[in-house]
Every structure is written in C-alpha cells, then in structure tokens.
Symmetry: C2
Subunit: 200 residues, 2 copies
C-alpha cells in the first residue's frame, strides 16, 4: 500500500468534484487538501472482508472496486464503484461486522475517510454538513432510481441500460461478475449478448 | 384534504422522532413545530402522478403510501412507506417530471415538506443540515441493505424476510401489490404462502 505522499497532487481532484455540489470555503478546501489520506491499492486488494468491522470509506480517484457477498459457496456481486464514486458500506462506522467483501478489480487510488476524521472535520467545518447532505441526497436519488429500475426490468433490459449508461463498466469487468450483478447466470448473459449482436 | 389545524398536536411526533438522531436546539424544535404543515389524505388519494413535477415530500405520522409505476399497462409496485418513514421520490425538487405514482393505501396523516420551506429552514437553522445528513446516512444504509438483500435472495426468502421484519406491511397491503413488490406474480406468492403454512 502506497502512502499519501506520491498522490498529494491529486487532492485537488476531490475538492474540484465536491465544488460541483456547493461552493467550498477556502478554509475547508485547504483543510481537506491538507488532511486527506490518499492511498494506492494494487489490483486484487481486499479492502474489507465478511466479519470485519468497516472503519474506512473511500472516494475513488482512479480504479474500480467491487462489492460482493458469499451465498452458500457462491459469490454474488451487488455493486461496482468507479471513479468519482463513494464506497461506504452500510456497516461503515457502526462497529458491526461486515456482511460484504470489497475488492479492488484494478489498481485503485482513493481518498480514505475514517469515522474519527469525519467527526473532527464536521465539528470544525460545519459547511461540510451541508456538502454531505446535498451529496447524500443526490446519491440517494440515483440509488432509488437504480433499485426501482432493477425491479422494473428484465435481465436483457438491465444489460442494455448498463451498456447505454455505464459502458466503461461493461468493458472493465469480467463477464461472470457482470452476470451476477445483473442477477443472472453467465450463460444467460452470453445468450443476451449474442441476441443483441445479431439484432445490431 | 384536511389542513394542519386539526393535527397541530401531532407536530411533537416529528420532533420526538428527529430527536433520536441528534439533540435538537429548542429554537429549531419550536420552528419545526410552528412551521410544519400536517395534512390528512383520504384512502386512495394519488399524491403524485407520472409526468407531474414533484414539489412535496412527506413524513408519515399515520398511514401507508405506495410507490408504483406503469410498465406497459401493468402496475409495478416498487416501495411502501409506513409510519415514521420519509417519502421523497428521486425527482423531488428537481422540476423533472415524475416517472412514478404515489398512492395513499390508507387514510394518511403526514408532515408535508416543500423545497422552498427546506431552503428557508436550512438557511435559518444550520443544525438542520447535520440532522438531515445523519438521517440520510441511516436511511441510505437501510436502502443499501435492502437492495443487496433483494439481489441476494429468492422470492421465498424475500417474503420470509418481510414477514419477519415488516409484518405490519404484510398484513396491511393487498396480496397482488405485495407480490409485485417481491418481484413475482400473485400466483407465485400464493404458492409460497401455501408452502410455508404447510411447513409451519
């Protein structure tokens, strides 16, 4: 694991991203840039295992993180997280053991947050509350649309939506994981892809 | 639609609920109690239709609201909202036309929020930012667990989880809507219920 030194130039990426939501005060921007831990994780790193408490959340600057579970002995992939996305499992900061695994599918560079750091920053910079609230509302809205969309659509529709909206993901992820994410068997995904390529 | 007058005694229910998340300042508590609109909607009221912009969100004091879509000519139920839950579609406050319908399945008493009211309250009472952030994190975590659970489980497992965790919902909702919510046909839900009652 590489420490923050080599990536300090990237701190600006996070503050630029955050500035899309609200105008950051100079003070908060400086605090974030100075206090931020940026780490690089080699491909294949397991960031979190089932049974462990989750004491870190991540903002991805580069790379790809997968969320998966074991159901009996089989992996079930429930989510992928790309650049400019937040990885924050539901057990983050609660002390509860995780049900899920987090794996870096590619070399991943991320800003790392911890509950202690958050508590301190929220106390010092109340503007951060607004930022988190506004970002949270946006992320929540996207999440609702995805969950409703998942319930509304067939596997083929889900795949087509993914190709349309998140083609980078389709290109970067192994097929068997993509199938699992779509809620189908790898063979079914192959059939869907063949059917579509014939139509196309 | 009944206006707030008759329900003003219920304002305390919201502030008591909010106090579970953070300690409210007296000033904020008073502002919320005074400014809050509480309305009663008869059973069957459609709070939002497809194509309409969504300019209201709700905190349910009593009753039950269903979220559904039309897929071709068929209703698909994606969510139910009970007492102490927030109903806030992803298009709330965006000006975008809604994709979904909101229907009161029972007589529903709710605190009604609007984007203008929120903007004003956030500006006046910064503590509200923290409250919304903390509540939002909790709601988001629950939502993630539900979405992952949905992907992980069979329809029978989903039904059993619902009976265990939200039995009130199972009792209060028509079977065909419950089936749709679980992602199955009404006949499949009947079969699952028969199978379970034989086992039981």
């Amino acid at each position: 694991m590489e420490e923050s030194g080599n990536h300090s130039g990237r701190a600006g990426e996070l503050t630029r991203y955050l500035s899309k939501y609200i105008e950051l005060s100079e003070e908060l921007e400086r605090a974030l840039s100075e206090r931020m831990f940026i780490r690089e994780y080699p491909k294949g790193t397991i960031l979190l295992k089932r049974g462990q408490p989750c004491n870190e959340c991540y903002f991805i600057l580069e790379g790809l993180v997968r969320t998966y579970y074991f159901k009996n002995d089989e992996e079930v992939t429930t989510d992928f997280h790309l650049e400019e996305q937040v990885v924050s499992p539901s057990c983050y900061g609660t002390g509860e053991p995780s049900e899920l695994y987090l794996e870096c599918l590619e070399t991943t560079v991320a800003v790392v947050g911890t509950p202690d750091m958050e508590t301190e920053l929220y106390a010092k910079y109340p503007q951060l509350e607004k930022l988190s609230r506004v970002m949270g509302e946006k992320i929540m809205a996207g999440y609702k649309d995805r969950f409703d969309g998942f319930k509304m659509s067939s596997p083929e529709q889900r795949y087509l939506a993914l190709v349309k909206n998140e083609n980078a993901l389709v290109q970067r992820v192994p097929q068997y994981q993509l199938a699992s994410y779509l809620g189908i068997k790898p063979e079914s995904l192959s059939r869907i892809r063949k059917r579509i390529s014939k139509k196309g």
